[in-house]
């Protein structure tokens, strides 16, 4: 059975330190302002605590990727062996259709190259037996690489609050949700 590689985002562990985003930027030397990975703080409606919680997100390597479907020049492909959605930038004509169509905002516009680009799950590193740069850099192991073909990770969800629910695309990213800390008050003791 072919693999289906995915990111597991553990919001319970994530500190919001942006190391993953910076590791990605260092790995690919993306242009200033162009970030393939973003760290989104959860709003108080979802996580009502001053310590805050975060989702570190890049491409979700969907089963039915909108970017691949809408691209007029076939600049996207999905690897059969592990489900990674790869963008072939040399084919891109910079129409921006993938950027508009991805509900997760994963493809970004490179204003220097005048083409789109996105996270390709460090497929070259994976082929060399390495971890993706973001996963390797995370100081608290809040970002891990999982294989969905081997089963769903424990206590994980696909569509947590604060993340668009798009079942038709079936994004591969899984989440462990942040938990509010237990607050011990004087009167409770």
């Amino acid at each position: 059975m072919a693999k289906r590689l995915a990111f597991l985002v553990d919001a319970k562990r994530c500190l919001g330190c942006f190391t993953c985003a910076m590791a990605c930027k260092n790995q690919y030397a993306t242009e200033p302002g162009v970030n393939w990975r973003e760290v989104y703080p959860l709003q108080a409606d979802i996580y009502p605590h001053h310590e805050r919680a975060f989702y570190s997100l890049a491409c979700n390597h969907c089963e039915k990727p909108a970017c691949l479907e809408v691209c007029p020049v076939q600049a996207y492909s999905k690897r059969e062996k592990d489900g990674i959605v790869v963008h072939h930038q040399e084919k891109c004509i910079g129409c921006g259709n993938c950027i508009r169509s991805c509900p997760y905002g994963a493809p970004r516009y490179n204003p220097v190259e005048k083409r789109a680009e996105k996270c390709s799950l460090c497929h070259e590193r994976i082929d060399a037996g390495l971890q993706p740069a973001c996963v390797q850099s995370c100081p608290v192991a809040a970002l891990t690489l999982i294989d969905l073909a081997a089963g769903e990770p424990d206590n994980s969800v696909q569509f947590p609050p604060g993340y668009p629910k798009m079942p038709a695309l079936n994004p591969a990213t899984r989440f462990r949700q942040a938990e509010l800390p237990i607050i011990h008050r004087r009167e409770d003791i």
Binding site: Y40, D45, I46, F54, V70, C71, P103, M166
Partner: protein, 264 residues
């Protein structure tokens, strides 16, 4: 995703819809009439071809690499953008051919059917899941309204004298429909999910949205109802209003990624 005015696409969609509107109305008129095409009829079709060709040229300015634009035809199996590029390029050729050859019935019918198909495809291109407010039939309805109103307006400058009363009736119907659709859509979005509601609020707070309603729809409707004719300056007012409306469409429709980390 940062919203952008997308001026080349604003011009492409408006010009292509005007061209389709001209040939739709002329084609339907030819359907109901016997006899050959006059000079004015042929002029309408060649003008429509020129408008569409100009729109296609504008659309190139939206690309990062316009010289590779022809490769956009590679993914016809699933990409609505590939289909849009193909259909509108073919339509420009058909419009020119029909105009040059004196509107042969077969080509006229093919172009009218192709024009409607083109509007549908263009609507689907702008209805991805990332924009919940327009991930439905609305872009097609907006574009159809633009085609009818702008087409009737432009045709009033070109069509033979005997066609003008029918154009007035079509324009009145199109403007009423446009007012209904464009006023109702943001109000309906207000009762939708978060991104849809934000879209509705952004539209209603936008001066350009109200400029479209007033300049592009209400004022022309009042003028046409009052005078029962289409003054020669009115198509340009219609065009200005439609441009405002299309800028709002690109600038204010909210993307799902804009709300990441908040409740949907």
């Amino acid at each position: 995703m940062k919203p952008s005015m997308e001026l080349p696409l604003v011009l492409f969609t408006i010009l292509s819809q005007t061209a389709v509107g001209i040939v739709l109305l002329s084609g339907l008129r030819r359907w109901s009439l016997a006899g050959g095409a006059g000079q004015a009829d042929r002029r309408e079709w060649t003008a429509a071809a020129a408008l569409l060709a100009l729109g296609l040229v504008f659309s190139l300015f939206h690309l990062g690499h316009p010289l590779d634009a022809v490769t956009a035809l590679k993914h016809l199996s699933t990409s609505w953008l590939s289909r849009e590029a193909l259909v509108f390029a073919l339509l420009a050729g058909l419009m020119l051919l029909a105009g040059v050859q004196g509107l042969p019935r077969g080509i006229v019918r093919l172009t009218v059917a192709g024009g409607l198909l083109g509007l549908l495809i263009q609507g689907m291109t702008y209805a991805p899941p990332s924009f919940p407010a327009i991930n439905n039939v609305l872009p097609f309805v907006f574009f159809l309204v633009s085609a009818v109103t702008l087409g009737a307006g432009a045709a009033s400058l070109l069509a033979p004298e005997e066609a003008r009363p029918a154009l007035v009736r079509v324009l009145i119907a199109g403007l009423w429909a446009g007012l209904g659709v464009h006023l109702a859509a943001p109000c309906v979005w207000l009762s939708g999910g978060t991104v849809m509601r934000l879209t509705g609020q952004a539209y209603l707070a936008s001066p350009l949205y109200w400029a479209h309603i007033v300049i592009g729809l209400a004022l022309p409707l009042w003028v046409v109802l009052k005078s029962r004719s289409i003054p020669r300056w009115l198509p340009f007012v219609l065009l200005a209003g439609a441009l405002c409306g299309r800028i709002v469409f690109y600038l204010e429709t909210m993307h799902t990624a804009a709300n990441m980390g908040a409740l949907y």
